[in-house]
Amino acid sequence: MTCLPAHTDRKLGLVIDLDTCVGCQACVTACKEWNTGGHMAPLTDIDPYGGNVDGVWFNRVHSYEHTTEMGGRTVNFPRSCLHCETPACVTVCPTGASYKRASDGIVLIDEDKCIGCKLCSWACPYGAREFDGDVGVMKKCTLCVDRIYNDNLAEEDRVPACVAACPTSARHFGDLGDPLSAVSQLVAERGGVDLMPELGYHPTNKYLPPRAHTQRAASVPAPALEPVRAEGGFLGWVDRMLSN
C-alpha cells in the first residue's frame, strides 16, 4: 500500500557534511558501480560513449558558489534521495510500487509493479528519482539496502557504497531517529539542516552547513608580486637590467 507507515522503528539515513566535501565524485561512481548490480539493477546508460550521453544515477554532486557578506566560497553539494518521513513520491504512486518501510524508513520501489507513469518524480522536490527509459520503470537510491543488512560483507562494510567510498568522511550513515546515535549527535553539534523544509516533506537525511569563515587567513590573497624597492648593489643592478 502506498499509504505511509504511521511510525518507523528506525530512521536510517545519511548526514552529509558540506564543509568537508571536496567534490571528488568518488561517492557518485561508487554508487553507480554498486547499484548497477544491486537491488534496482541495472542503472542503464544510454549512448554512453556518444554525443547524447544519458543514464540513471542515484547520487549527483553539484558545485555552487555561495556568496555572503563574509565572502564567497565553493560548496560541493551531493544530492540523492533523502528518505523523507512524509514522501509524496510514495503516496502519489497509483500501483503500490513505491513504499516506505516501517522497519527502517527506507523508501523503495518494487520494479515489478512500476508502470512508469513518472508521477513520483514530479512529486519529489529534490529530483531524487530518475526514469530508466530502457527498462520503462522509475529508479531511486535504496540506501544500499543490499549492503547495510548484508551478512556476507565485513561489518565495517555494511554501510552505503557512497559512505564507504568518501575519502574525506563527508558522508555519515546511521539512525537519525535515535537521538543518541553518532549521526544524530553530529547533526545536533553542527546544526544540521533539512533541505526545502518549507515544503513539509521532513527529509531524514541532514546536511551540515559549511563552518563559518575563519578570520585567521584573509579571504582575498595579497598580490603575488610586490614591487621591489630600488636599491644599490648587485640586486639593484639586476633589477635595473630586467626592468629595461
Binding site: M1, T2, L18, Q25, V53, D54, V56, W57, R60, H62, S63, Y64, E65, H66, T67, T68, E69, T74, V75, F77, R79, A88, V90, T91, V92, P94, T95, A97, K113, C114, I115, G116, C117, K118, L119, S121, W122, A123, C124, P125, Y126, G127, F131, G133, V135, G136, V137, M138, V193, D194, L195, M196, P197, E198, L199, G200, Y201, Y207, P209, P210
Partner: protein
C-alpha cells in the same frame, strides 16, 4: 514541465468528453433533450469516444503500459489511482444511460437515475484529474487554488460548446444553452487570465538557498554534475514555453475564448444551416485552443528541481 502530447491530449479530450457526458446525463435524462436515435448516438459516441481516446492516449506515456491495470489499486492515497477508478466506474451508469436514452428512447425513471449517476461520475473524475496536479507541492503554478476550479470550468465550457454544436446540428438548439456556452467561455477566459496573473506574481519561499541548505547571500550554480541533459532536465527543466509564452498566451486567448465567444454570439442572429456551421466551428476552434492552453499549463510550470541546476 515537459508537455507530453499524450497527457496534453488526454486531459483536454477527457475534460470535453466528461463535460458533454454530464450535460447529456442531466439534460437528456430529465427529458430536456427529446430522445432521438441519431442525435443520441452521435452525442454519446462523441462523449464516450473522447473519454476512451483520452484514456488510451494517457497510457501512451507509460513506461510499462501492460501493467496499467495495477493503477486501480492505490485509491486510498493516490489521486492518479482515484482518477483511474472513477473513470472506469463512470462507464457503467454512462453505458446504461446511453442504452436507455439512445436505443430505447426513454427519459425519466431509471434512465434519469443512470444519467445523474453518470454526471456525478464525470464531475468526480474531472476533480480527480485536477487534484493530480493541484496536489503536487514542488510545482507552485499547479499547487494553487486555481487548478481544480480550472479543470471543472474548462470541462463544463468545452462540454457545453460541444453539446450546443450537436443540438444546432439537429436543428434543436436552444437560446438558453447558447447563452450558457457564452457565459462559460467568458468565465473560462477570466479564470485563465486570473491564473496567469497569479502565476506571474508568484513568490515562493523555496529558493536555491533552501534547496541547498546554504543560508543567506546568493547561491549560484557553478557546475552541473553531468555534461548533457539528464532525465530531470528533460522532464522537469523544459524551457521553450517560457521563451514564447507571450505569443502562446495570445493564441490561447484567441482560439479557446475570443473566437468561440464571437462565433457563438453571432449564432443567435443566424438561421439553421449557418448557425450549425458556426457552432461546430466554435467547438473545433475551442478544442484546438484548449490543446494550446494545456500545453502551456505543463510547459510554463516550474519544478523545484530546476533550482539545483540554476534554471
Amino acid at each position: 514541465m515537459h508537455p507530453a502530447f499524450s497527457v496534453v491530449f488526454f486531459t483536454t479530450a477527457t475534460g470535453a468528453g466528461y463535460g458533454l457526458l454530464a450535460l447529456l446525463g442531466v439534460l437528456a435524462g430529465l427529458g430536456f433533450i427529446a430522445p432521438d436515435f441519431w442525435l443520441g448516438l452521435i452525442g454519446m459516441g462523441l462523449a464516450l469516444g473522447l473519454i476512451a481516446a483520452g484514456l488510451l492516449s494517457s497510457t501512451g506515456h507509460l513506461g510499462r503500459p501492460e501493467r496499467a491495470w495495477r493503477a486501480f489499486s492505490q485509491w486510498r492515497s493516490s489521486w492518479l489511482s482515484r482518477e483511474g477508478v472513477a473513470s472506469v466506474v463512470t462507464f457503467v451508469p454512462a453505458g446504461l444511460f446511453g442504452i436507455g436514452w439512445v436505443f430505447f428512447g426513454h427519459t425519466g425513471g431509471w434512465v434519469a437515475v443512470a444519467g445523474l449517476l453518470a454526471a456525478i461520475g464525470a464531475v468526480v473524475t474531472v476533480c480527480t484529474t485536477g487534484m493530480i496536479y493541484a496536489s503536487l507541492k514542488p510545482i507552485a503554478q499547479w499547487h494553487s487554488r486555481f487548478t481544480l476550479p480550472a479543470y471543472l470550468i474548462f470541462s463544463a465550457m468545452t462540454g457545453s460548446v460541444l453539446l450546443n454544436a450537436l443540438l444546432q446540428g439537429f436543428a434543436v438548439g436552444s437560446n438558453i444553452l447558447q447563452a450558457v456556452c457564452l457565459l462559460l467561455s467568458l468565465l473560462g477566459w477570466g479564470w485563465k487570465l486570473a491564473t496567469w496573473r497569479y502565476n506571474d506574481r508568484l513568490e515562493i519561499p523555496t529558493s536555491a538557498n533552501t534547496a541547498t541548505g546554504l543560508a543567506g547571500g546568493t547561491v549560484r550554480s557553478l557546475e552541473w554534475p553531468h555534461t548533457e541533459e539528464n532525465y530531470l532536465l528533460k522532464e522537469m527543466g523544459f524551457r521553450i514555453a517560457r521563451k514564447h509564452s507571450f505569443r502562446l498566451r495570445q493564441i490561447t486567448q484567441l482560439l479557446a475564448f475570443a473566437l468561440p465567444v464571437l462565433l457563438l454570439a453571432t449564432v443567435f442572429a443566424l438561421p439553421w444551416p449557418i448557425a450549425t456551421a458556426l457552432s461546430v466551428l466554435a467547438a473545433i476552434v475551442q478544442f484546438a485552443g484548449m490543446l494550446v492552453e494545456r500545453w502551456l499549463f505543463f510547459a510554463e510550470a516550474k519544478h523545484t528541481v530546476t533550482l539545483y541546476y540554476g534554471r
